[in-house]
């Protein structure tokens, strides 16, 4: 059997909407098979993975908490990927944002004022943007591959955080645990709805998604991003600078990842620890693609992937299996999303007969 692709005359509207859903469906089927192989009832497993977390108010709050960083980061990444800049180091920018934003509550902990929170958020964005500025500078001016440099910097950021919380920033009254002091109340991001848990990080995510969506759809900048991403040459004829675009897209995604970092630390963890992210920066790559690089799609996709984190925790309790299937689910999902995207541009034909037959008919 052979599989052949035939280019569609235009983009299939139907499949650009359907493809993420087909991918989700396929992931569920494969996930079910996986649970069966682990010796669990697939229906019950999938139920507690994907439905149960949605049935209680507190877990909806958890969903918003986990979705916030994913959406924020992925919205920034979508701008990068659309303009053909492959920032895959958002995890590091997330961490550096968290560190930069934590300077106030950790080092200047005695300063308590309503100004602290907004300044923390700004510092977080600055920290993430500066850290993303390194691969941006290297790509724009020294022609260095941004994929590798941005990824290498993730390890550097993780080690830097580890050093900080074990060394200079360790809580002096913390029994030698590798943690910073807990943030003062004035440095904690408030809840969005009173008596819930979800903090304003989710609000930031929605606002960022809408703003970037507006920019992509209605402004010249958005057009510039799309043109440069599809053809640098065409962009140059239109007078767009791909060098400036590298800076713009990387700094924007770095700032959003940094904001995600400080919002997570200030809203959910309330101190720095050696590990502050269960891989949000990498999962956000999946979110960006599942959302088809569209900020509004990314909001939905972020909620779906946040659900995989919650579902993973849920099955740990209800079925006594480890949290490892989460990563498998996420990886599978990205695979299916990428393969289903083929349907948007191509018709897929299964060729059951021999190639020579086709040649004989003169179709080649």
């Amino acid at each position: 059997m052979r599989i052949e692709l035939e280019r569609r005359p235009g983009v299939s509207k139907l499949f650009s909407i359907l493809s993420p859903f087909i991918a989700l469906g396929l992931t569920l089927i494969f996930g079910g098979i996986m649970f069966m192989m682990l010796g669990k009832d697939p229906v019950a497993a999938l139920y507690s993975f994907f439905i149960e977390p949605l049935t209680e108010i507190w877990s909806l709050h958890e969903l918003a908490i986990k979705a916030a960083p994913l959406i924020l980061i992925a919205v920034g990444l979508s701008v990068c990927y659309r303009s053909n800049n492959w920032n895959i180091g958002a995890e590091g920018q997330f961490i550096m944002g968290a560190i930069a934003g934590s300077i106030l509550p950790v080092v200047f902990y005695e300063w308590q004022s309503p100004l602290v929170l907004p300044l923390m958020m700004l510092l977080g964005m600055l920290g993430g943007a500066l850290f993303a500025g390194i691969p941006a500078f290297l790509k724009a001016h020294l022609n260095t591959n941004e994929i590798l440099t941005s990824l290498m910097l993730v390890y550097v950021a993780q080690l830097f955080l580890d050093w900080l919380v074990r060394g200079p920033w360790r809580n002096p009254g913390g029994m030698n645990f590798p943690e910073t002091r807990t943030f003062d109340a004035t440095a904690i991001l408030p809840e969005m709805i009173a008596s819930g848990r979800a903090h304003w990080g989710f609000g930031f995510a929605i606002i960022a998604a809408i703003l970037v969506w507006f920019m992509m759809r209605y402004t010249l900048k958005g057009f510039e991003i799309t043109v440069l991403g599809q053809s640098q040459r065409a962009g140059r004829f239109a007078g767009f600078s791909s060098r400036k675009m590298i800076w713009f897209s990387m700094l924007l995604s770095g700032a959003l990842a940094g904001l995600a970092g400080i919002a997570e630390v200030s809203g959910a963890i309330q101190q720095l620890r050696p590990v502050i992210s269960p891989g949000y920066g990498f999962t956000a790559i999946i979110v960006a693609f599942l959302g088809r690089l569209n900020p509004l799609g990314i909001v939905v996709a972020g909620l779906v992937l946040a659900l995989t984190y919650l579902g993973g925790e849920a099955v740990q309790v209800s079925l006594q299996i480890s949290d490892k299937p989460i990563r498998v689910f996420q990886g599978l999902l990205l695979f299916f999303v990428l393969s289903c995207d083929t349907l948007i541009h191509y018709k897929i034909r299964m060729m059951w007969y021999d190639l020579s037959e086709t040649a004989g008919k003169g179709t080649r």
Partner: protein
């Protein structure tokens, strides 16, 4: 055994997986395919190699399992990027994410088990040569394989007809197709070779470097291997030079700690990653040199028109 000799031995052990993964990726990239999933294939090789060794008691079967796991896993990448023409960068990332997930799931029961170390193969007379003997002729099979593989790839790419075809596919898939070369099949084979080498590199980690299983035990080596290919400007022997340089950097932390040099251990752990960035900068700031060496069709999808 002198300290210098001991150092060389650790460098070799640290460098071998880098060399193996990079030489595989070099062939893949020479055919015009950029597979960013090296990390994922490597960690799959490490997991499957370890599991097979524990199950059978033979590290040699472990090696085979590692190779097979890497090759099969790379087929997934091949199917998506070659048959379904999905974006190579994104698919490579997917392969890495999936590999890290699947490996940690299947090898979870083996966490904390002590493994079986791959035995050394001692060449009778040669290994008695002072200094060089123990370094070069008292090593495990995977080390010998890594050197043989580099020599073999060098011969294949530049001296054989099939190698010429592979390079032509990587430099201009349209012309190669017009000449009647099967572009897709060539690329599938190159991707699988890359996968097999990465799998072998992974098996080295769990059978030689540290004979046990730990989650994410490849620790970014797959990415460093990718950088090595750029560093080597797609030339096989330069991979060895680069790989050993990185091996030296990555073990420097052990020695710095042993000598009690007062540098934070985290900074030393970050050295290989920082070194990678610096090397990439040095290599790529010369735009023209990069352009000459890079396979011209690298990362571009090919759909035969009919």
């Amino acid at each position: 055994m002198g300290i210098f000799e001991a150092m060389l031995l650790t460098i070799i052990t640290a460098a071998t997986p880098l060399v193996l993964a990079a030489i595989g990726e070099l062939v893949t990239e020479r055919s015009g395919v950029l597979n960013l999933g090296v990390e994922g294939m490597m960690v799959m090789g490490a997991a499957c190699g370890f599991i097979a060794t524990q199950a059978t008691g033979s590290p040699y079967i472990g090696i085979l399992a590692g190779i097979a796991a890497g090759a099969l896993f790379s087929l997934l990448f091949g199917f998506l990027t070659l048959t379904l023409v999905a974006n190579q960068v994104a698919t490579g990332l997917a392969l890495t994410i999936l590999g890290l997930g699947v490996s940690s799931m299947i090898a979870e029961p083996y966490l904390g088990q002590s493994g079986i170390k791959l035995p050394q193969i001692v060449f009778p007379v040669l290994s008695d040569i002072p200094f060089l003997g123990p370094v070069l002729f008292k090593q495990d099979l995977i080390f010998y394989l890594s050197i043989a593989l580099v020599a073999g790839v060098n011969w294949f790419l530049f001296k054989s007809r099939a190698g010429l075809k592979l390079r032509s596919v990587g430099d201009s898939h349209a012309s190669a197709h017009a000449l009647g070369i099967n572009v897709i099949r060539t690329r599938y084979l190159a991707v699988m070779f890359g996968g097999a080498s990465a799998g072998l590199a992974g098996a080295q980690l769990s059978l030689v470097y540290t004979p046990q299983w730990a989650e994410n035990m490849s620790a970014g080596r797959g990415w460093i291997a990718l950088a090595l290919v750029v560093f080597a400007s797609w030339r096989p022997w330069r991979i060895v030079a680069g790989g050993y340089l990185f091996g030296a950097v990555s073990i420097s932390q052990l020695y710095a700690q042993a000598f009690g040099i007062g540098i934070p251990s985290q900074l030393l752990s970050a050295l290989p990653y920082l070194a990678t960035i610096i090397v990439l900068i040095l290599i790529s700031h010369n735009r023209r040199m990069t352009l000459i060496n890079t396979p011209a069709s690298l990362g571009k999808s090919f759909v035969p028109d009919r």
